[in-house]
Every structure is written in C-alpha cells, then in structure tokens.
C-alpha cells in the first residue's frame, strides 16, 4: 500500500514583499529549484506568495493580480519537468477582472488545478471576491492531493469534504496573522489542523509565511501533520524564513480504521446530522 519510496513534503515559508511581483516570483522559483535539489516531491508555498497580503483594496491588489496562464506557472512547470514533483502556491489571481485569493497546483505539464479561497478573513473581504467552488482533489503520483487556503481550514466542513472525496494529503497555503496563545500550546491554527488531520485520517501540510508587512507579523508556524494529528515537522513561531520537510506515505491515509471496529469516515452518521437538534 505504501510503495517503496516515501513522498517528501516540504513547506517553504517564504517572505513575500507586498506588490513586488518580480521579486516574489524570483523567491518562488528559487524555492522550487531548492526543492528539486533536495528531492522534494510536494512543495507547498504560502498564500498570496506572488503578491503579498496587506492590500488596502481590490484596486491595489489588481495591479499585481495574474492570470493562471501567467508565465510564472510555466516556469515552475519547466523546473518540475522530468520529475514527479508537485507545487502548490498561493497567488493573487486576475479572474476576468475579479481579484481572487487563489492557489495553483502545478506539475511538470503545467497548472493542474486552481482553487479560489471560499472563506475570506477580515479585510480580505474588502479586497477579494470569494470563490464559490469546492476545493479540489488532484490525483498525483504521490497520492490524492486536496487544497484549501488559510481561513478555509478553520471550517471542519472543508477538510471533511476533501477527505470524503479521497484526499490523502491536504496542502494549505496560509498567511496566519500572529495571534496570542498560551505558552503551553501551539498556535490555534495548528491545533485546528491537528484535529482536522486526525478526525479525517489525512496528512496536512500548512505553509505559513514570514516577513513583516506594513507592521503585520505572522505566526511563521508552518507544519506537517500526520494522519493521526501528530506533528511531523514544524517551524517555531517567529522562525522567519524557514522550511519544514517530512517524508510520508500519503496513501496510508486510505486506511481509515481507528479501531478494529471503527473507521473515521464510515462511522459518520449523516442520518443523525441531517435531523433537527431537539431543544428543551
């Protein structure tokens, strides 16, 4: 079931610069090249890696929005060509004039899928048009890859629907604004991803970003979580530019047994969930 070779997953916590499309593309291509040099199979890059995050409005974002036919994706595909490598990267998308917070899944042949963030966080609502399509699952040589973006992942419905559609590994480009948390705990977003991984029996790789932007700091907490919800690799909060890498067997996620008589997905009770909660 696992095959002989693990899949090397990496999150490369880049530090995009707001509005610097050329510089950000250079960072992305450099990360792809280093991933190839290190035999990375699935490289996850941050949300809005091409553009930065802290736009004041849609007009400002539109200036650096790119189509999914943009040369950067061809150049990533060229660098992956001849390998079985996959890159998942967040980008500021020009979708026929609408500005989207999107993620592209790219292999050696080009863009395999584009997903448009459907849950927008805070001021993103002033900048982006939310996507109305479910997140995709893409069949790859490394198993079935699901995608969500940042705040999407805080809705348990999202990893659940990806798992039900067969995702083995979920890639999550993120920009997690720095948040307070007890010293004894990981950041809240990581706790939620541990639970999402375990309740669905899937691997999850979240790539956060680094680099203060207009005074905004980030958790800088990229993480790769196994299908039991345990952390395989993580950056420390405040790590800055950093990578996390783990070798996993994504197809193990197809075994949903949680006990000799239980299965994370089959044990669901849609008949119960559909009914109205009794109140007294």
């Amino acid at each position: 079931m696992t095959g002989s070779n693990p899949t090397r997953v990496r999150c490369d916590q880049l530090a995009p610069v707001l509005g610097d499309l050329d510089g950000n593309i250079a960072q992305i291509l450099d990360a792809v090249a280093r991933g190839r040099a290190d035999a990375v199979d699935v490289l996850v890059l941050p949300e809005l890696a091409t553009s930065g995050y802290c736009f004041q409005n849609a007009a400002e974002a539109r200036e650096v929005a790119i189509r999914s036919s943009h040369a950067v994706f061809t150049r990533i595909a060229d660098r992956l060509c001849g390998s079985a490598g996959i890159v998942v990267v967040g980008f500021c998308e020009d979708d026929d004039g609408r500005v989207r917070n999107s993620a592209a899944v790219i292999d050696g042949d080009g863009v395999r899928a584009v997903y448009r963030k459907s849950h927008l966080w805070d001021r993103e609502t002033l900048v982006f048009t939310a996507g109305d399509e479910p997140p995709p699952v893409i069949d790859t040589p490394h198993g079935r890859l699901g995608v969500m973006i940042c705040y999407d992942a805080e809705f348990p419905e999202m990893p659940r629907m990806l798992a039900l559609a067969g995702a083995d590994l979920i890639a999550v480009p993120t920009n997690w604004p720095v948040g307070e948390h007890p010293a004894s705990d990981r950041v809240a977003e990581v706790v939620m991803m541990q639970a999402a991984a375990r309740t669905n029996g899937v691997f999850i790789a979240c790539c956060d970003r680094a680099g203060t932007e207009l005074g905004q700091d980030w958790n800088e907490s990229s993480v790769i979580v196994d299908r039991f919800g345990w952390v395989l690799a993580e950056t420390q909060p405040g790590a800055g530019r950093a990578t996390v890498t783990a070798d996993v067997f994504p197809r193990l996620a197809r075994d949903k047994a949680s006990s000799p008589r239980n299965d994370w997905l089959q044990d669901r009770r849609p008949d119960v969930y559909r009914r109205e909660v009794p109140t007294a």
Copy 2:
C-alpha cells in the same frame, strides 16, 4: 451579556466499578453532594458512570441497565432541589429492552433530557444499540447546554450541529481508553476538543473516568476548554480520581466574532459544502 456571576463547571472523574450499580450510584450521589458544597453549577460526570464500561455483551450490560425513571435520577434531582444546579451523567440505559450508552441531563425538577450515543466505539458495537436522534440542547439558568458522549465528539459534525442549535457549553461524559501520544502533546481527544471549541466558539467540558477495569486504563484527562480552544482546567493523564473546576460565562459563546469582519458560524459556506468536490 455575561451577567454578574460566572457559572462554576466541574468534571468529577469518578472511578466506576463494572457491574456495581449500587456502589456506582453512591459515587455519583457523593459527587453531586460535593458539587453542591462547592457551589458547582454544572457538574459533568463520566460516560456509563452507573455501570462501568467493559461489558462483554449486551446481556451482561442489561443486568445493570436502568431506565431514565430510575430512582438515582430522582435522588440527584432531590439534591439539586432549591439550586440552579445541573448534572450531566452517563448511564447504561434500559430503553424498552434495548441497551443504550446514554447521558441524562438533570436539574432540581428531574430529568430534562436523555441523549443516546450515536457513534459507538469498538466493542461498544457488540453491547449497545446506537441512538438515532441528534444530541440535544437544553436551556438552563447557565446558558444553553449541549451534550455528546465520548466518540461522538470526534465527529466535527456533532459539536457543529450543537453550536448551530445555540449551545453555549457542551458537556461530554467520556471513557477515554488510554492512548499513546507524543510527550509534547495533550492526548488526541483533548486536541480534538480544543479544535471543536474554537471552530464553534463554544465552551466544552469533558469528564473522563479513572479506575482500571479488566486491565483497561483510561487517559484520565478531564478537561474544560474555553470558547477559543484554550484549556481552562485539566487533570494530568494518570491523575486517577480527580476533579477539574472552572468558572466561566457560557453566554459569551453567543459572540461568534473571530475578527471585526468574521463570525465562526456565519462565515460557513453551506452553498460550497453541498457541491461536489472537483477531481482532476
């Protein structure tokens, strides 16, 4: 919004003895008395607190199964009489001959609700008949109380439906069989409850049990989690017979704002969740 007085929530991690109905009832009544002495408003007791857990089959469980009209519930109500106290206790239920893994919500007037566990764990499938009704939400002087039992809570659909039905605080009687976890992490069940609390903006109080039963040990990890997913009070794994108590304002859970422009429940995208995941 919060009123002047907090709600004192306690989980009393009892050590039920398999098949010892009278002894277990004495433990329960003692816990209720101590709760009253300590001004506890919401007392959560373990799953199957009347009966113990490790039954071999339904016939064995049926011997100590009780109806929800059993005197123990009247005696609990009598002890609560004149207070605004609430008790949530797991019991082995005789439901017209079917054996259920149930929880009763009791106040000074008697049994307010009975919930029958709808997700059965491992050998429970050989002993109990799963419930087909959704978990209830009960309006109390301490806010709206939701109930789930142990493995139920590992299905994100369950806390979600309780939160959507208005639950402020979710009581979770549990028997968590001891499980391995990294030293740097809490037990998996608690991590899942932290995520459930945060993604739904609700308080959660889980009462685990103590006492080795036929060689089976338990996490002994009772926990009270706030609406941001942070632990307010917890027993240490292996604590044995222990209580955790926290003073909370359950109605704060009605504020679901997660940013100036976000709301944990309103931001859901049922239109997206209903659609089929695209695959490529």
